[in-house]
Chain length 289, copies 2
Amino acid sequence: MSDPTYTPPKVWTWEQPSGGQFANINRPVSGATHEKDRPVGKHPLQLYSLATPNGVKVTVMLEELLALGYKGAEYDAWLIKINEGDQFSSGFVEANPNSKIPALVDHSTETPTRVFESGSILLYLAEKFGEFLPKDPAKRTETLNWLFWQMGSAPYLGGGFGHFYAYAPEKYQYPIDRFAMEAKRQLDVLDKALAERPYIAGDDYTIADMAIFPWYGGMVLGRAYDAAEFLSVHEYKNLLAWAEKVDARPAVGRGRKVNRTWGEDHEQLPERHDAADLDAKVALDPAAE
Amino acid sequence: MSDPTYTPPKVWTWEQPSGGQFANINRPVSGATHEKDRPVGKHPLQLYSLATPNGVKVTVMLEELLALGYKGAEYDAWLIKINEGDQFSSGFVEANPNSKIPALVDHSTETPTRVFESGSILLYLAEKFGEFLPKDPAKRTETLNWLFWQMGSAPYLGGGFGHFYAYAPEKYQYPIDRFAMEAKRQLDVLDKALAERPYIAGDDYTIADMAIFPWYGGMVLGRAYDAAEFLSVHEYKNLLAWAEKVDARPAVGRGRKVNRTWGEDHEQLPERHDAADLDAKVALDPAAE
């Protein structure tokens, strides 16, 4: 990297260790590294996750469904410690061959249904319960446009900007410039859309908001990569107003605590097996009413 | 980049030009740069695209639907010259505020419906015509799992590996190593899945195959980034067998030519407004029967 005359070899080979923080969880091969079954609790929905932005999308959705009174949305949330390789257990790989959190298994179907990729899980739950995805065809399409937008865009924010700005072993200018530019473009796309509408896909709060909030809302709220000043996130006023509105939803506050193992005590609930688990944490929260 | 002591500034600012090939199409802001309406042809579906992997997904889907006899899938395919900034016209931005190809506008609905993000377009067309997305709930979910997998994974292959291996102004070792490792992991995920099933989501050829083929099929078929040897793509035998099977479909051959402005004469059809446009190109193809 510091040698401008670097020439790639003819054939790439893996030299461990490399990659800075999280290097130990990146591999050039897929599949299980050890035999271990998935734990299964008492509820219809079994979630295997961690409170990263992709994980939070799903716990927020489940808490929103529970807030509406859907008993079928009760869930066990099991902690996947990605720095310890839990995502490479045979049981996890069976639920998600891509070894990334979150993974959901629905035990209410005839045979258990595996659902992986956070966007797929949001769509699955929206269709299962008939909520947070408009039934009007034009509104439904616009919601899915933005849901897919988030899935295709956030890798540049997380695996691109976040990695090179916060996690890489050294600060390299070229990739930081490249991904900072793209991160700002994406923030501006959202800011312009939210100038015209209260929620990202229109008048309704949908799974598109839930997908976008943990990544882009987290960014403008100053929660991601310590990069608020670097990216001048105060410029995105419509996005910030939307993020504050979404952040104030009780289900969002609850969902953000689940499978979380960092922060203040009241912010973290490593595993959730009952609504009361979360109620106890919410009661400790100085911001809670 | 060549200075290992680089320290990012407090606030990132844009310094043009930078970014190597395609640098002129990357900006830190969104929105239109010039006023220009979208052209609209005679068919129900108006596609604004270019034959990149994301563009090819949609033209293949449309050709597959036409091969099944769906007249409602007739389309005009307009060329978006991304190196000349066509994606920043007011008309394109109206169809896709993210300024990326492909964008589809359906004029068969009460008011025209915009559909953007290639995954959203595939899902929209699959649901509109009731094809290439299984109706069985478990199979449908598995198809959507892989469709979303492709959307969230390919940015590491294209914007990550492809950019740093093929397009960046210099060869930088750290990002090449990082993204080569991830590209190989993704190829292995697909290879293992295809060891157990004929198509990526099971027994049926679906929109998940159409989404994955142009990126990962193109890679193992040696069509992408001149990187087949570097990534040892011959290792992925199941993926290669699947890619050859998909590549042999007539609709795939047709779809790959649409909005294409490079390659042999018989391979490129910059705009498509009638099936006969494409028939003429197919007739020129030495590989055609």
